[in-house]
Amino acid sequence: MAVKNPASERISDWFKLDNAGKVFPGQNTSTWSNVFRVTAVIDETVDPEMLRNAVIDILPRFPCFDVEMRKGVFWYYLEKNRNQCPPILPDIKNPCTRIKWHENGRFLFRIYYRENRISVEFYHALTDGYGATCFLCTLVAQYLRLRGHEIPVGETVLDINEPASPDELEDAFIKFASSKAKPDTKSTSVYHVEGKRLPAHTCNVTTGFFSISEIKELASKYNVTITEFIAALLVDILYHKQLKENKKQKIIGAQIPVNLRKSFKSNTLRNFSLFYLINLDPLMGDYTFEEIVNNTALKLRCLNNPKQLNAMMTSNTKIERNIFTRLVPLFIKNTIMGVYFSLWAENTTSVLFSNVGLVKLPKEMEQYVKSLSIIPPHGIRNAARTAAIGYGDVMSLSFTNVFDTVDVEREFFSRLVKMSVHVKIESNRD
């Protein structure tokens, strides 16, 4: 039974899409969905009716997700959804399929259940990994409460009896973008793993679970962080793969999204992340793994400062604020974006690694939640898109691959095993 929530008293009628979210509707295709998934595994079989009630209870706390996509003359915008909640669906084999505006009760996120798993798939125009994790944890907490467990508020579990604060709903890009500097936007065409494409709407997902303390110890041997170490390992794998292919050697480009909430004090539940591009040019000479780790870590550390991030953020918001961009009708913007993304999408990215970081839950809740995982949106021509999330001492790292190859995944997890990290694998492959 759904509970009337005081938070439902305060609901914004409509939102502009945030600065990062504006690019996604123009590239919502069968091959590039921009939908990512967060999953929680709990200690009991999920009851879909109770899950539905939990969604109804928490949705007023997340007005920025309780929306539907609408078309304006110049931009898309998000309007309060008139439906109660999205359908609660039994899980499917091919996660992260595209979300069409008129389907799914017009909601831009989907909810799936299977055995003891609760999964939420978000259209990236709504939020990033942080917002999605907050939503999932609050949903699981409310589900467990409805099952009779005492779950307090705290960490990533939001208080559903309080209304959403204005800073949770803000477009933090616009708020913090204030730099006068121009960032270096030079980008080059990079190496891509090739293979036979899977049919539209399908992708192979491989998730590996390993100990955070083990990987931390490994990274500390090289004096780098976990993110730097994993990014370097992925770059190293692609570097050696390309060498074996006996072609003209192209640059390896790693895209590393960064959560801006750490550098700029914002609690927004909407998109607030940017990405760094770390390049490795094989034509410079032969690299050892240590050199690749150092190269990746140093470049990341050079970029990872509020001044640099602000400059990148400002350059993006400038495009949105430009009077000519604003005055171009939406259908023209869509056409331009569609052509741009179909021709040059992922030209600069060989591999993506998005680390959501360590998620903390209230202590009373930890005993019921066995694991958390995140599946990144699949790309058009990228066989190595990865995302990781940490919970307790377990890090889960998922690969989304649109090709029928498994080389990068196999090499990545085998390398971890060879470095004495215990890895457990699960996948949607047959």
Partner: protein, 235 residues
């Protein structure tokens, strides 16, 4: 708890083979009925509806239909100007069958589509023939040319669909088909105009094709040369 003997990773309880190297999971102490752990993903594949393709095909059909209706009515009102609306109707029908009709279905049998295309092109030419009759050019020239082209394309389709073909062999097949077709059309022309000449332009096509076929055959057979080409002509 199973581990992959090849990769060393621990596998999901439900796994029948390793997701990374496809090595089968064999536990001699486990009976088959014991492995009933639920798989992490459902077997149900969800493919979102692709109504937009059909919707667009419908819109284009309507757009095509409107000028046809207008032209046909105008032609009926003013019949003294000749039956010019037939051209527009026939052309529109051909455009519809060639470019719009395939998008109205999720999956169409390619042979059926080819047969339909061949028939519609033949009928289109027949519509023109009814206006410009003379020397029986439809039966002796146009129809055999279109039907033979349809047969050659059908043979090519059968060949390419049987198994995955290497690209040099595909080029060789296209060149061979082109040479055969040029011989056939030239023979038809000689027969139609009742000339005593032997093959001319088809010999030129054949000689060029043979030299190109030899080159592509060399590429197909010689791996080292292929790698060298890939390296030198990398775009």
């Amino acid at each position: 708890m199973s581990y992959c003997v090849n990769c060393g990773v621990e596998l999901d309880e439900s796994a029948k083979k390793c997701a990374l190297c496809y090595a089968p999971v064999l536990n001699p102490f486990e009976k088959e009925s014991e492995n009933i752990a639920p798989t992490p993903y459902s077997d149900n594949v969800f493919i979102p509806s692709s109504a937009s393709r059909r919707y667009l095909a419908f819109i284009f059909s309507v757009i095509l239909l409107i000028p046809n209706i207008v032209c046909s009515i105008t032609n009926l009102i003013f019949p003294e100007s000749g039956l010019w609306a037939i051209y527009i109707n026939a052309t529109s029908l051909l455009v519809f069958i060639l470019f719009i009709f395939p998008f109205m279905f999720k999956k169409v049998n390619p042979y059926l589509l080819l047969a339909l295309d061949t028939i519609s092109v033949t009928l289109f030419i027949y519509a023109i023939y009814t206006m410009y009759e003379g020397k029986n050019w439809f039966l002796l020239l146009a129809m055999p040319m279109v039907i033979s082209l349809g047969i050659i394309i059908a043979c090519f389709l059968t060949w390419i669909r049987r198994k995955e073909r290497d690209w040099p062999y595909i080029v060789i097949a296209v060149l061979s088909a082109f040479s055969i077709y040029s011989f056939f059309t030239e023979a038809l022309f000689h027969f139609y105009y009742n000339t005593d000449r032997v093959f001319e332009y088809s010999i030129i096509i054949l000689v060029s094709s043979i030299s190109l076929i030899a080159f592509f055959l060399f590429i197909a057979k010689n791996k080292k040369f292929r790698q060298w080409l890939a390296k030198r002509f990398f775009v």
